[in-house]
Amino acid sequence: MISLTHYLVVSAILFCIGLYVVLVKRNAIQILIGIEMMLNAAILNLVAFGQFDRHNNGGQMFALFAIVLAAATTAVALAIVLNVYRRYKTIDPDKVDQLKD
């Protein structure tokens, strides 16, 4: 059986890479990819600990719910990105800084 510490370290590195992508990239779609990476790091932790819950499947269940939530947020976020592009002709989040038309 693979040690839990290995899973935790891998998911910590993945989380940090995702955070770096979110902080550095100047494109809303790539920032979304970074958020997905961070979510996946969390799901990896849930799954790794869910190994030790055979009867109730707590970890795996919440991993499933997190995947579904990620799908829902991505759909809404991409709709917002399309709207922002239609209005500002750019999807650089630094340049979208007006609340009024």
Binding site: M1, Y7, V24, F52, R54, M61
Partner: protein, 182 residues
């Protein structure tokens, strides 16, 4: 060292290497497609953690759903999104990226120390679960158990999340529809 350990190292190396390629790549299309590889490698890691159903869901939902959505979004938003990234002076060592690198490195140090201090393999409930044989071995009947649990113990979260998913999809369709010309 068992075969599972070697597979774990290979999978995690693929996942982390492709994730860092996504982080440093200048090309949006290439980074989206390399993100596929990250997701597949993560699905492999889920299989190694005895969660085969989660791995299949990951592939179906992420690769089949989310990545196709991302590709659609960037095809619909024109080629200007690509031009932002083609500007030449975007390297990882640029001075502008330094604060981000610093934050990420510090966060990683904190996380790593917490992980070492936690010593997850000898947590109370983990040792209890090993003692009472409550851990998942590779017997292969876990998907049925997940189905039964989903319809009994986790029925309320399941229904709530289905309503939330429907609301999110209706909202997304509403947001992305064309405004009527007046």
């Amino acid at each position: 060292m068992s075969a599972a350990n070697i597979l774990f190292y290979i999978m995690s190396f693929i996942a982390l290497a492709s994730a860092s390629y996504v982080a440093v790549s200048k090309n949006l299309v290439r980074s989206v497609f390399v993100f596929f590889v990250t997701l597949f490698a993560l699905a492999g890691l889920y299989v190694l953690a005895m969660a085969d159903f989660i791995a299949v869901t990951q592939i179906v939902v992420y690769v089949g759903g989310i990545l196709v959505l991302i590709l659609f979004a960037f095809m619909l938003s024109g080629r200007e999104t690509l031009d932002v990234l083609q500007s030449p002076q975007r390297s990882i060592w640029k001075i502008k990226n330094l604060p981000a690198l610093l934050i990420v490195a510090l966060l990683f140090i904190v996380l790593f120390n917490v992980i070492l201090k936690t010593d997850a393999d000898h947590l109370g409930w983990v040792s209890d679960s090993i003692k009472t044989k409550n851990y998942i071995s590779n017997s292969g009947d876990m998907t049925a158990n997940i189905g039964v649990n989903l319809m009994t113990r986790y029925l309320l979260p399941f229904e709530i999340i289905s309503i939330l998913l429907m609301m999110a999809l209706v909202g997304a369709a509403h947001l992305s529809r064309k405004e009527r010309a007046e």
